[in-house]
Symmetry: C2
Subunit: 312 residues, 2 copies
């Protein structure tokens, strides 16, 4: 018998034999989406990171969708340059702090006992500053492109409202819009000064959404495949979750743009402006499938992960 908490997760055929009849689960709703409701992610917007194989020799590939325009594009352009220069090859994952972040970069820069022999950065990287962490300068045309309806019925502790734009979680006040630190989002490490993050050092959120980082660090994308390779790494035992010995670090073999990888599958996300996405988001906020006694009546934006799948 497939028991206990199963229905609270995702309805699947293995569980169906036990499941009473009832309204569809969020994932059953997604499974019914029309082909036209799925939006292809261009391979040129994917960053593909190959970690060293795991202890059993199994390959570990992490696929990141880069942030679309107009958000944080200075950092995104730097990341494209760093990938083109193969700068990320042979760096490592240096920090894994539980319920917070997995962080990677040059181990000679990115750890408390660094030697100072940091890898030189390519020329021509842009320097972004304090004003670049939110998007404020809408034109009417941009507004019409960007604005999806805010999420219904959901208080938010961090913003006046939240919504999805081009498949990514965003927050707003009455002046500006910014990407949200949900699970799996990828951001740019920096030092104390806001202009110190180039994109050479990156992190992924592996715990409860650290929304206090919104507007304080630049988000540049989200992991759409291979998240488990980042979230299941051993936690570092040094301060802030840094690894204490070089042997603990996970080597990063290569990072390439998706367009440069011949055998990369295609990916698509459920359009966040589609009718099915609206039904899915409502069902995430009001679980009516048979397991549930009491629908919540709301959901925070990070509890509505945007469905992504391989094409075909």
């Amino acid at each position: 018998m497939l028991s206990a908490l199963c229905a609270a997760a995702f309805a699947i055929p293995a569980a169906a034999q036990d499941e009473p009849e009832g309204p569809p689960s969020p994932n059953e709703i997604v499974a019914q989406a029309k082909a036209a409701e799925w939006t292809t992610i261009a391979p040129s917007d994917l960053l593909v990171m190959d970690l060293a194989p795991d202890a059993k020799g199994k390959a570990r590939r992490v696929v990141i969708q880069l942030m679309p325009e107009p958000f944080n594009q200075g950092w995104v352009r730097n990341i494209r340059k760093l990938a083109a220069a193969k700068w990320y090859d042979n760096i490592s994952i240096n920090r894994v702090q539980d319920n917070y972040v997995t962080q990677w970069g040059d181990p000679n820069y990115d750890n408390p006992a660094a030697t100072g022999l940091a890898k030189p950065l390519p020329e021509g990287l842009e320097v972004m500053g304090e004003g670049d962490y939110v998007y404020e300068h809408y034109t009417p045309e941009e507004l019409s492109k960007l604005d999806a309806p805010p999420l219904d019925g959901s208080g938010d502790s961090y913003a006046n409202w939240t919504k999805f734009v081009a498949g990514l979680p965003m927050a707003n006040d009455f002046m500006s819009e910014w990407p949200v630190h949900c699970y799996g989002m990828v951001g740019v490490g920096r030092n104390f000064s806001p202009d110190t993050g180039s994109g050479a050092e990156l992190y992924a959120v592996i715990g409860h959404a650290p929304r206090h980082l919104d507007r304080n660090i630049a988000l540049v994308g989200r992991i759409i495949e291979g998240m488990e390779h980042m979230s299941s790494l051993p936690r570092g035992t040094g301060p802030l979750g840094f690894y204490e010995t070089p042997e603990e670090r996970t080597p990063i073999l290569s990072v390439r743009m998706g367009g440069d990888i011949a055998d990369l599958p295609g990916f698509e996300y459920l359009s966040t402006e589609s009718e099915t996405f609206a039904r899915y988001a409502d069902a995430r906020a009001n679980r009516r499938d048979p397991f549930f006694i009491k629908p919540a009546g709301g959901a925070d934006i990070c509890n509505i992960p945007v469905p992504v799948r391989r094409k075909g």
Copy 2:
């Protein structure tokens, strides 16, 4: 140089050399708490779970603080009985679903290919039902004991308000109060019917708070030490994150009440009704320490983890 995102985490001596002067971080505030502001957790309220050692032979102990009265005590009493009967010894972790839960129990019950040869439960376990998932029946005396001020300035997507009670995150509407599914909370797996969870099968939250489970599954405690042993396990590749082969399961060697373990350290939490906790919660919602450009102006309750430490 200790760089990039460091200050966003916890201020520590290793980082201090680079850190500009400024208001204290949340953890610096906690470090200044008076001794009297820390509340001892009785060993008799701790459930201590020893997993099999890891691949390098290192011990893995997980310490769970059980939910205080009046919340979900039927399940808590069952768990005490199961531990006393050593029922949990030699069961295993059978499911790890990314951004959701790590779940343990009898592998002959708790997996899709179960044999049906489930381990018999001890006699006398209580059966709880639909009405037991929220606490509704206050007396004036209980109210006066339970009520801490709601969190300020924080919208919540799932409840009319949230607050901490006896060191644990709680949510309210105008009729009832219930524990909240934050990271590290421990709950009772069940089948479709609300009366099917005994406490023999448990899970811990290892991702973004799945608040839609609030009032639908019984929370019975939270992990106060050893969380990294639950969150860094390999994710299961079967449906719902169940492991597909017995070899993947992590054996649980023993589960005992804290009072029955001679060498267990003492634990204490920062009283959630203390002045220092109020300052800490405010600082989590409004980061003014030097790394931050823009304080959030709010925090959801799961982003204010209650500080816990070993005594002495």
